[in-house]
């Protein structure tokens, strides 16, 4: 199972790292916009919206990425003193009872949320804003899926570890 987990994590990592460059593009977008505004007195509502689109994109894939990379913060006052076995159990509890149900719930409710937006052809209410709101809204279920995969990979690893099959 650890092998499967490694495979899932490798795929997630590749994908998420690619997506995270959105933050980098965001820098240039903002700079471009500032220059356009102050130097040429030129504003473009869709660019302003593109900013948070990029932000949302990076932020959400980042949540899954941070699970893979173990970088979500915790209070390790006691945790650091636990035996490895107990640490694994806490981590398993986190993934099974907190992460997967939580993001599955969001996933479930986001489907109709996206569908509604698609059905009415929702677009930005700002003049000159971006169309196709459903696309950015569809990021929510997509990201929840990624997060659940990341959690699943962790669970697979932890089960193996707790059974003593792999202590890597």
């Amino acid at each position: 199972m650890t092998q499967l987990a490694k495979w899932i994590e490798a795929a997630l990592k590749k994908f998420c790292e690619l997506c995270l460059w959105a933050n980098f593009i965001l820098i240039f977008l903002i700079v471009f916009q500032v220059v356009a505004r102050y130097a040429f007195n030129f504003t473009w509502a869709s660019l302003e919206e593109l900013q948070w689109h990029l932000f949302a994109f990076a932020m959400f894939t980042g949540v899954a990425y941070a699970i893979v990379e173990n970088s979500h913060v915790r209070a390790d006052l006691l945790f650091a003193k636990f035996a490895k076995k107990w640490q694994d159990r806490v981590e398993l509890l986190t993934m099974v009872f907190c992460v997967i149900p939580f993001f599955s719930l969001i996933l479930f409710y986001s489907l109709s949320f996206v569908e509604r937006s698609y059905a009415v052809g929702e677009m930005s209410s700002a003049p000159g804003g971006l169309p196709y709101r459903w696309l950015i809204k569809a990021l929510i279920p997509l990201a929840c899926l990624l997060i659940n995969f990341a959690a699943l990979a962790k669970i697979l690893r932890l089960i193996d570890a707790l059974r003593g099959k792999d202590v890597s």
Partner: protein, 454 residues
């Protein structure tokens, strides 16, 4: 006790338990909200209770998540984080801080004082605690440690300075508070200035005296040749900070614009000092992603917790219990502040404002308190709003569960443990409480400036 009250206690119990056994913070908060809902539904089914709880309500999470995603304000978060990481990775931050250290070398604790002042600048430009704590930590903690500062003082300085951001105007917390209380934002901005400066001043005084003992760096009188080198190290990054923060402060650029320019500027600085290669860049982008996301995950988790709390009518229960207290006005106000302080252990300031303010603002209004602010409308609410703001700010850096503490923990080197952070913030919390008492006893501290403006 009513079953609802027991359930509320259980809810907070589960969260504390989760956090203490080491469940990752974001998921502990989110999971508690979910599990409490499940628990309520089970009780309704088997024990004839009538808890308000359903999954449809949690379905609102989708909308909350979307509103976080689409917040043009939060776009500044990854930008400030990237700026911090870039300044750190390129060694510019270290150079800057080292130079401060040398320049202030005759002043003990000069480095920590500089951090506090940068924190004050940051505070005036962004209200995002996560961003200011992370930025300050990345820039200053390694250098402070290198210069013999204790881990505690370094952490305490960064945490307290980072939290100033939600109090010092223009702050998004004050805007939301004004919105929720129905008072003028302008009055609230004016009202927060003096308390904010007092707090900063008290931090500085404390750091100055504390640093006499811990600052182990040598006192080296400056040589003439040094000066040029120092200024070369200081001027570019400081210029960047001032440009970024100043442009927000003076309303030339929006926080988002300025943050993007800051990130860009940091990149250019790193490039021109030949510290930027693809590897560093890639690492910085990934680090930015991770840091931003763990902060956002906590905000999403907190939304789940507060939705459950509100569905259980936790706010009403809190209100009823506060109103039933056998104290006078003073007692009730103190009880409300205590409640807000406690909630600050678990929730983000946005959630607390949403849960508490609609129920407590009418209570305060109804008291018809006598206030010194002449000609100022709703002076008592403005005074109360600042009390709330300072209380919230205090609770973010109060152990065991303080958001600023965890943000800091998320970006500091491994050798800094949570206990160092906990110990480090305690003196600052005491200072905060002293200022809070001052405001409580002398409302003029808050009301003087806005009543001048009115």
């Amino acid at each position: 006790m009513y079953p609802e009250e027991l359930m509320l206690i259980a809810m907070f119990g589960i969260l504390l338990l989760f956090i203490f056994i080491g469940v990752r913070i974001a998921f502990a908060i989110a999971g508690t909200g979910m599990l409490t809902t499940v628990l309520c539904l089970i009780c309704n089914k088997y024990f004839e209770t009538n808890f308000f709880a359903d999954f449809n309500n949690l379905g609102l999470l989708v909308n909350r998540v979307y509103s976080l995603m689409s917040s043009s304000l939060l776009v500044a978060l990854p930008m400030f984080v990237f700026m911090g990481i870039m300044l750190e990775k390129s060694g510019l931050a270290e150079n800057l801080m080292e130079s401060f250290q040398k320049i202030f070398s005759s002043v003990r604790g000069g480095l920590a004082l500089a951090v506090t002042l940068i924190g004050l600048l940051l505070a005036a430009s962004t209200g995002i605690i996560g961003a200011s704590v992370v930025l300050l930590a990345l820039m200053s903690i390694p250098t402070m440690l290198k210069n013999g500062y204790s881990k505690e003082l370094a952490c305490g300085t960064v945490c307290s300075a980072g939290c100033l951001g939600i109090l010092i105007p223009p702050s998004i917390m004050l805007i939301l508070l004004a919105d929720q209380m129905g008072v003028s934002v302008g009055d609230l901005f004016h009202a927060a200035v003096l308390p904010g400066l007092l707090l900063t001043a008290s931090y500085c005084v404390y750091i100055f005296f504390k640093a006499q003992k811990v600052d182990k760096s040598e006192v080296v009188p400056l040589q003439k040749g040094d000066l040029k080198k120092l200024f070369l190290a200081i001027i570019p990054p400081m210029l960047l900070m001032f440009l970024v923060l100043g442009s927000i402060f003076f309303g030339i650029a929006t926080p988002t614009e300025a943050s993007g320019l800051g990130a860009f500027g940091a990149m250019i600085l790193a490039f021109s000092s030949k510290k930027l290669d693809y590897k560093t860049l890639r690492l910085s982008v990934m680090e930015t992603g991770k840091t931003t996301s763990f902060i956002m995950a906590i905000l999403i988790g907190a939304a789940c917790f507060s939705l459950t709390l509100k569905e259980l009518e936790g706010d009403e229960i809190i209100r009823e219990n506060i109103m039933a207290l056998p104290f006078g006005h003073t007692g009730i106000i103190l009880a409300i502040l205590a409640m807000i302080f406690l909630l600050g252990f678990f929730l983000d300031w946005i959630e607390i404002t949403l849960v508490m303010i609609p129920i407590v603002a009418p209570i305060i209004s109804a008291m018809a308190l006598e206030m010194p602010g002449q000609g100022l409308e709703q002076a008592e609410l403005i005074w109360f709003a600042i009390l709330v703001a300072v209380t919230l700010q205090t609770s973010f850096l109060t152990p065991p569960v303080g958001f600023a503490l965890f943000y800091l923990k998320g970006v500091t080197p491994k050798e800094i443990e949570l206990k160092h952070i906990y110990k480090g913030v305690i003196p600052f919390i005491i200072l905060q409480v002293l200022i809070l008492i001052l405001i409580f006893l002398f409302p003029s501290v808050v009301l003087w400036l806005p009543s001048l403006a009115a």
